[in-house]
Symmetry: D3
Subunit: 142 residues, 6 copies
């Protein structure tokens, strides 16, 4: 590991652009984009069966209330999206909220996660990650 050089932007010639054009993968370059208000909502559903559904509804789950825990998990997932998905930009999350609706008919939990940010790229992935964290937490707590 030798010959480490640091080149500032004024020295970054056009050849550099060429070099980076045929990468294995490409993060979208958002440096020239404006920050705008972004909001996305993702949802997912998990079928837990009638027995577990009743336990949750009666707050009798041995590991605790899955609803609150899943909501917290969603926040953690939203905030850590760019650590898990290499191509995701780290975003300044302004808000996230997660709501879990219990459907008695099919013994399911439906997770809704909304994420807001004033950013250069969308927050769809963050919302999906939030939903997934919540669903996995609902699973573990069963």
């Amino acid at each position: 590991m030798s010959k480490l050089k640091i080149i500032n932007k004024e020295d970054l010639k056009d050849w550099a652009k060429e070099i980076f054009q045929k990468n294995s993968f490409n993060m979208v370059d958002v440096s020239s984009k404006k920050e705008t208000f972004r909001r996305a909502l993702a949802s997912g559903k998990i079928y837990v069966g009638k027995k577990v559904f009743d336990l949750i509804q009666n707050k009798k789950m041995p590991k605790g209330d899955p609803i609150t825990l899943a909501e917290v998990s969603a926040v953690l997932g939203v905030k850590k999206t760019s650590e898990l998905i290499p191509l995701c930009h780290p975003l300044p999350i302004d808000h996230t909220a997660t709501k879990i609706i219990m459907n008695e008919l099919d013994s399911s939990l439906e997770v809704f996660c909304v994420v807001s940010a004033v950013a250069k790229t969308g927050v769809e992935m963050e919302a999906i990650m939030g939903v997934n964290s919540a669903l996995i937490t609902s699973k573990i707590i069963n």
Copy 2:
């Protein structure tokens, strides 16, 4: 924030046990369990449509090859499970591998993630988290 006290295990009386019995939620106490070999396989499927499916197969996706990226994402998800799911124990992962199989019939990607560890608790959640990270990455790259 005052009166911070540290109590070592010999001083931890039975009243402590009582105190902790009615918590909002409960992490399973695995301290008296033996470490055994654990392995779990989780899988998930994402339907990408014929057009995207062909682009992936011909390695023409503009952001790069989703297959490799999804595999890497899965490893990151597996390793970070206990950071996203509060009740999960941090586990000494011995191995994880992710395979993505392309099904031409229904234009889907099927993700398989296996996780191994010699641990006191199972690695199911880690495998699920790996699958989910891979699926979300497949999504972003579309």
Copy 3:
């Protein structure tokens, strides 16, 4: 885990607002707030006893100089606040500094941690977290 849907902001109807109104907990939505200059200072004190105090002052502590280590710990705590406190927004920290003052009279270390950012929400929690990390590090090194 099926029926994952992504809904962009234009499709986010008013019913969504309603859904999220009765959550288990609520992150403050700062998306419509302006970024302004924020600065907060927190402080805390730890009593180490005369013997340890003298060791620190004479740079004789076996694990090294607690002062520098505590300062570094504070920076790490400030930066990781939103990873430990689910309701905290990730903030673009512009500056943080920590000063530890040794009070000979009561054999105490007093930690001051200042944090600055141009942000939509205050940095009080970051400053408190910095103080706490520094105090805990002072403790471990004793």
Copy 4:
């Protein structure tokens, strides 16, 4: 940055020991210690005033129930101790639980955090970090 060399343990001569003896700080070397069962309990107290205390007790806090959130925060703090305190070893946490007791007399919340692990070093710091995260979360939610 050149001349990077990797030296395996058999090549690690005694001069190495000497080199490392006068460091700025020293992590305790636990490599020759046996893993034993460790448990520690830490506690801390925060005075919130009668008004806030009543709001908490009646579950009327606008940001949600601080009790559950503080419990979750404690788990996150326990797990991230070695990321915030440089000299702390990463430990395989087997269990952690946090209990928050509301004292009506002095309008205070008292946090108890217990941590267990089979490890080569104690979990006192993890318990303290858990208490602190819980206390800071109680603060933010006020």
Copy 5:
């Protein structure tokens, strides 16, 4: 750990400035700086020997293609710079790309990592960290 106080900016007197002037180390205060476009390119080189070089070129490396993995590693390194280097500010990375060029003549891999951000401080350290992560990954995969 008592007497925790939070002081808001209006209460932050000049004496505070004095206190923080003689710290063990100083993070640069960028709170009054304007955000401008920043870009930096760093590069590094690793000599792998003719045998390994041929294996890489023929995609015969037992652990997989080091080129893609090193590119991913670089992204992770860039994003985590401020977690490893205490004095680094957390920056809103807009783009990063890494290119690895194989030099047949000296059996070396040359890594180029470019990082862009609209920020108050430069991204040189992020680019260097990206290069280093890529180089270390190339090493492990050998």
Copy 6:
């Protein structure tokens, strides 16, 4: 994202092995290996020039003493190796120490980082990552 299945180890048939054999990349499976004592030492060198070298030696560097900061950075790098290098296993670090030797003759800092663990795989990568973090910190502080 549907049809998520969890398969426990007893159900994991031989076909699974086949599936995972032709991955994009392969983490070494260490689940059947025994834990043994591991130690590795890595070193690296940075040339800072006579002017900076004198400033460091006279403790006149404006951002603080690079020696201590680089030592702390090394610990953080060692602990975070498996977060930056996807193929690295998370390891239970028992000890790490970093020594920086100042060579007046060529105005260089030479970094030595030793890492110890009782683990199933070596700690070479951790030691290299420690050296690199220390070198980059030395650089930033210049």
